[in-house]
């Protein structure tokens, strides 16, 4: 009887704990989405009536859509380029036989270890001297730098799982190395490549700490613009654009879930593990 009481007690505690966790995790996102529908001209709680006007009017002002477009474009471009570079490096690292492979691997993973703020300053300094900073190209360079190692890591994790005789068999059957790579190997590691692309996109899309140094008043990404606007105004438009931002990000999450299943294992491979 006592142990049954304890079991029920444990159950209740468990449910309470998990509920608290969910509320804690979701609260910021929900309140931002909620505020975006607030009719009042400033943040207030409880909200004063529901209105979509921040979406229909506010979004089209003050360069929000430009920033959104740039963030989306940067995300696609840097993810794609990072994928090409990362997949190639993973294959080279996995397959190549050369001394100093551990060093090469460490070097290729290193951008993850350096604080992004430091990377930002370093890049900003060099690019400004070349009068190249504050352009989409400078942002692209920075984003590729911080996303490629993640792609590398993900694909490198998938390569050992490739059946050992797959590509040699294709070669024996007459395929050239290029054909073997493109038509045999890449399809096998496609889940890793797709999740690599999606992670790279999200890292680029969310990125603030290196983008801060690479933007200019006219060329800015959405997170940076949201950050700088937070200091100035409390117009709910910022909540509306943030909700749009969240929708894109969660959309990507859903796509990733469809492709590889967002179980912890697949995310763990991408999480910045410093070991």
């Amino acid at each position: 009887m006592a142990s049954q009481m304890r079991r029920i007690g444990l159950r209740v505690a468990l449910i309470a704990f998990l509920t608290l966790m969910v509320v804690f995790i979701l609260a910021p996102s929900l309140i931002v989405a909620g505020m975006s529908l607030n009719d009042g001209a400033y943040f207030s709680f409880p909200p004063q009536g529901i209105s979509l006007r921040w979406y229909t009017e506010g979004l089209f002002a003050r360069g929000w859509l430009d920033a959104l477009a740039l963030s989306l474009g940067l995300g696609v471009a840097s993810a794609s380029i990072a994928c090409v570079i990362g997949v190639a490096a993973a294959i080279g690292l996995f397959e190549g036989a050369f001394r100093g492979k551990a060093v090469a691997s460490a070097i290729l993973h290193s951008p993850i270890l350096v604080p992004q703020l430091l990377l930002g300053i370093a890049l900003a300094f060099v690019l400004t001297r070349l009068t190249w900073n504050g352009t989409p190209a400078s942002l692209l360079a920075g984003h590729i730098l911080v996303t490629a190692p993640f792609v590398l890591r993900l694909v490198l994790g998938a390569l050992p799982g490739v059946p050992g005789n797959l590509v040699p068999a294709a070669r024996t059957l007459g395929a050239s190395p290029t054909t073997a790579l493109v038509k045999v190997l890449l399809p096998v590691i496609r889940p890793a490549m797709v999740s690599g692309w999606i992670f790279a996109f999200v890292i680029s899309f969310d990125n603030v700490m290196i983008s801060l140094f690479l933007t200019s008043p006219r060329v800015t990404t959405l997170p940076v613009k949201i950050l700088s606007t937070m200091d100035q105004s409390s117009d709910p438009t910022i909540a509306a654009i943030s909700t749009v931002f969240m929708i894109v990000a969660i959309g990507m999450m859903l796509v990733l879930n469809r492709v590889v299943g967002l179980q912890f294992e697949s995310v763990r491979a991408a999480a910045a593990s410093r070991n």
Partner: protein, 295 residues
């Protein structure tokens, strides 16, 4: 070394682009900026550069900057510890219990990773502000309106917002650590008569330590390097290394000082990664020595 199972030649061509990327966009700029941090460079009209160690010494000599470093390290410690306290039970629940909606719950818990720091910080500002729901709740519970404390722009607020984003970086390593423990070990403990708690304490916990250490280091490094939350939620009274760095860079235009701050951040991060390893090595050495001495 080097399983040749892929039989795709040309590793030089394959790793060259990545190497080039890192050399040109990271290694060279970092080296340049490291040198820069010892000079008196200012953007604008060219002046003769002088060598100086001021940008580094201020962190040890000036009490204001010393406080900032202490606060930064403190932030890392507080966030890691909070994440551990909350995250270990969560990781254990996910790893060992199966219940309906577990996959959905995992998905939900991962959303912060995808939404990013800026939007989340906006949300926390709304929540903790004096006109926000927490204040309204406190007032409803009877706290008179003038007495509702300012929750924003405090150290705990920054920690809470960081835990919100970084919790999963603690949960994931611990989760995989626990998943890696064969269930038979815990079963054996129970069979031999140990209570569930004792089984956990003597079997699961020690074996999950690698995950704990990995998660702790990760959250520590990520939190000392965080910028958005200390800036937005902490405000001017809660300066940390990263916010000083940005202030120096964008307002004072003191790029060498900002570079020095960044390098200091890097060094602290390296310590955070290396130190636990040295300590664990030492502890294992003592174990071995103790065993060999005890015979």
């Amino acid at each position: 070394m080097g399983r040749r199972q892929l039989a795709i030649p040309g590793w030089v061509v394959q790793i060259a682009p990545a190497m080039l990327l890192i050399a040109s966009l990271m290694a060279a700029p970092l080296a340049i900026v490291a040198i820069l941090s010892f000079t008196t460079f200012r953007p604008g009209p060219a002046e003769p550069l002088q060598f100086t160690t001021d940008h580094y010494s201020r962190w040890f000599v000036d009490p204001y900057y010393r406080d900032v470093v202490i606060r930064t390290v403190w932030l890392g410690l507080a966030t890691s510890t909070a994440c551990l306290i909350v995250g270990y039970p969560l990781a254990y629940i996910f790893a060992r219990l199966s219940f309906r909606g577990r996959a959905l719950l995992m998905f939900v818990m991962l959303t912060p990773l995808f939404i990013g720091a800026v939007v989340r910080s906006l949300g926390w500002v709304m929540i903790l502000d004096r006109t926000g729901p927490v204040a309204v709740l406190l007032e409803a519970m009877g706290v008179p309106e003038g007495d509702v404390p300012q929750m924003l722009y405090t150290f705990p607020a920054v920690v809470i917002s960081l835990v919100n984003v970084l919790l999963m970086f603690m949960v994931l390593p611990i989760y995989s650590s626990i998943r890696g423990i064969p269930g038979t070990l815990e079963e054996a403990g129970r069979t031999l008569g140990a209570s569930p708690f004792k089984t956990w304490a003597k079997v699961t916990l020690p074996l999950s330590v690698p995950g704990i250490v990995a998660g702790w280091i990760l959250v520590f490094v990520l939190s000392i390097g965080s910028f958005v939350q200390p800036r937005v939620i902490g405000g001017p009274s809660q300066h940390v290394l990263s916010t000083i760095l940005y202030r120096d860079f964008s307002f004072s235009l003191d790029w060498p000082a900002a570079a020095a701050a960044g390098i200091l951040l890097l060094v602290i991060g390296i310590f955070a990664v290396v130190l636990p390893r040295l300590v664990t090595k030492r502890v294992m050495q003592w174990d071995v020595e103790a065993e060999s001495m005890g015979g």
